[in-house]
């Protein structure tokens, strides 16, 4: 496996030739914000939080997807990128009904953390107040679509790690929603194995365990990569 050297935020970083900018940056100590990317699942490229500037191109590229190349010069934290990241989070807050005060994930929510990280102290877009459902038909879990940001981690976790592919996306545009099987109530799903990997993956309080009350949910997201490492690299001891 060959090694390439690239420049990230002015510092030289070494990376494997098939690394993504996101992973190479992490090895170099540079943190790039992500919402739809989580270790252990395939990349999605949908949240656009990880967009970086690459010298020589006018096009922003998602760091989770873009592979490194020799001599690449990357900027991850310019004023422009910061402003875009803040606007993405504002668009998300305006799009759903994200009310932290009554949410099980209050205090352990990646969307909430991201809002703080991007400096979102107020909302500049109009709240849309959509009418979205809560599905409590499953005996162990529930999904509150008001909190869903359509990151599709649940879809990928169920498909890639559990192999059940219970979750998928239906509808398009702002009417898109995650569904179980053929848009049936989750509790009636014949494919769901109740493994909870979707719950592990969810960044917000959308998918939760029944029995958690406000601010009690802590998604064990690290378990996703643990499972992948255990299966593929036979590493069980962390």
């Amino acid at each position: 496996m060959s090694v390439v050297t690239l420049t990230i935020n002015g510092q030289l970083v070494s990376a494997r030739a098939d690394d993504t900018i996101l992973l190479a940056a992490r090895e170099g100590g540079v943190h790039i914000p992500t919402l739809c990317y989580v270790d252990g699942l395939s990349e999605h490229g949908g949240c656009r939080m990880c967009l970086v500037e690459i010298a020589g191109s006018s096009r922003l590229q998602p760091a989770c997807f873009m592979k490194v190349s020799e001599g690449m010069v990357v900027q991850t934290d310019t004023d422009r990128l910061r402003e875009y990241r803040r606007m993405i989070v504002e668009l998300l807050f305006a799009e759903g009904n994200h009310i932290c005060a009554v949410c099980v994930a209050n205090g352990a929510c990646e969307l909430q953390d991201m809002a703080i990280a991007v400096g979102m102290d107020h909302e500049r877009f109009e709240y849309l107040h959509p009418c979205r459902e809560v599905d409590l038909s499953h005996d162990r879990f529930g999904i509150d679509h008001n909190r869903c940001i359509l990151c599709t981690r649940c879809v990928r976790a169920c498909d890639e790690l559990e192999g059940a592919h219970t979750w998928d996306v239906a509808g398009r545009g702002s009417n898109a929603k995650v569904i179980t099987d053929l848009n049936q109530p989750w509790g009636e799903s014949p494919t769901c194995t109740s493994c909870g990997k979707c719950f592990m993956a969810c960044p917000t309080g959308a998918i939760f365990q029944k029995g958690d009350t406000v601010a009690e949910t802590k998604h064990p997201r690290a378990k996703l990569e643990f499972l992948v490492n255990a299966r593929e690299k036979k590493q069980w001891n962390v």
Partner: protein
């Protein structure tokens, strides 16, 4: 390509481009039928023949779908570099019923509006991009004095909003907010700060969207702001948002 492979129809980030990694991971050529239709003619009659038609950087002919406020609507094939005036006035027959052409919209919901004063522009890829539009698949809508350019922008934004696949946040959520802003302007409840937010959000959606739909959705808005800004300004309310809502001033400013 995703649909062909039995998946939900959403795009993936590029690179890698389809010519390198497309259907089932194999190199794939995916183009408009018109592009492929040129290939047999080029093979049969030589590349030099094709290159002799058109401009230095835009070779060959293009089919345009001419419609709107023009006498002769239909499909028109012309060498690239033909002026827009020739297409809409000579071939199209100009505006019907004594109307005056105000603008020509090219490239459909992804394109922009070329104002009448620029009708002598040659129609080729670079010229249209320089004017803030695109060739697209060759849609050409002629507009006259009765067309409200802000409504044109809103109409195309509605299309993009409804056709958005929903994968990426800027397009899914951004087009909704852009449509809302354009509707506020048309409803006469918007102020200068709404136009500013419109421009800022257009720029963000343009540069952060995953695919061409989101990247070009702001084009009609940006080009009408560029050439027909007065139509936007005529619809704006003056004063602060609070004044516009008729809220009384509760306390006098100190000092």
């Amino acid at each position: 390509m995703a649909s062909i492979m039995g998946q939900r129809g959403t795009p993936t980030p590029r690179p890698p481009y389809p010519a390198e990694h497309g259907l089932w991971g194999m190199p794939t050529l995916i183009n408009n039928v018109e592009t492929f239709a040129n290939v047999p003619a080029i093979i049969r009659r030589s590349a030099d023949w094709f290159a002799a038609i058109g401009t230095e950087k835009s070779k060959g002919t293009k089919v345009f779908c001419l419609t709107g406020k023009v006498v002769n609507t239909g499909l028109v094939e012309v060498p690239l570099g033909t002026s827009m005036r020739k297409i809409v006035q000579e071939i199209g027959g100009g505006a019907p019923d004594g109307g005056t052409i105000k603008a020509v919209q090219t490239g459909g919901p992804s394109g922009g509006c070329i104002p009448a004063e620029l009708l002598d522009t040659p129609v080729d890829y670079e010229s249209l991009v320089r004017l803030g539009s695109i060739m697209g698949s060759g849609g050409m809508i002629v507009m006259d004095q009765d067309n409200n350019m802000v409504d044109v922008a809103r109409f195309f934004m509605q299309f993009c909003m409804e056709e958005s696949c929903g994968k990426c946040i800027p397009c899914r959520a951004g087009t909704v907010q852009l449509h809302r802003l354009l509707t506020r302007i048309l409803d006469g409840v918007a102020g200068e700060e709404d136009v500013q937010q419109l421009e800022v959000l257009c720029e963000m959606v343009q540069h952060t969207s995953l695919c061409g739909l989101g990247q070009t959705a702001p084009n009609p808005t940006l080009s009408t702001l560029r050439y027909f800004r007065k139509e936007y300004e005529a619809l704006l309310k003056t004063g602060t948002p609070a004044q516009r809502m008729g809220l009384p001033l509760v306390a006098e400013p100190r000092g």
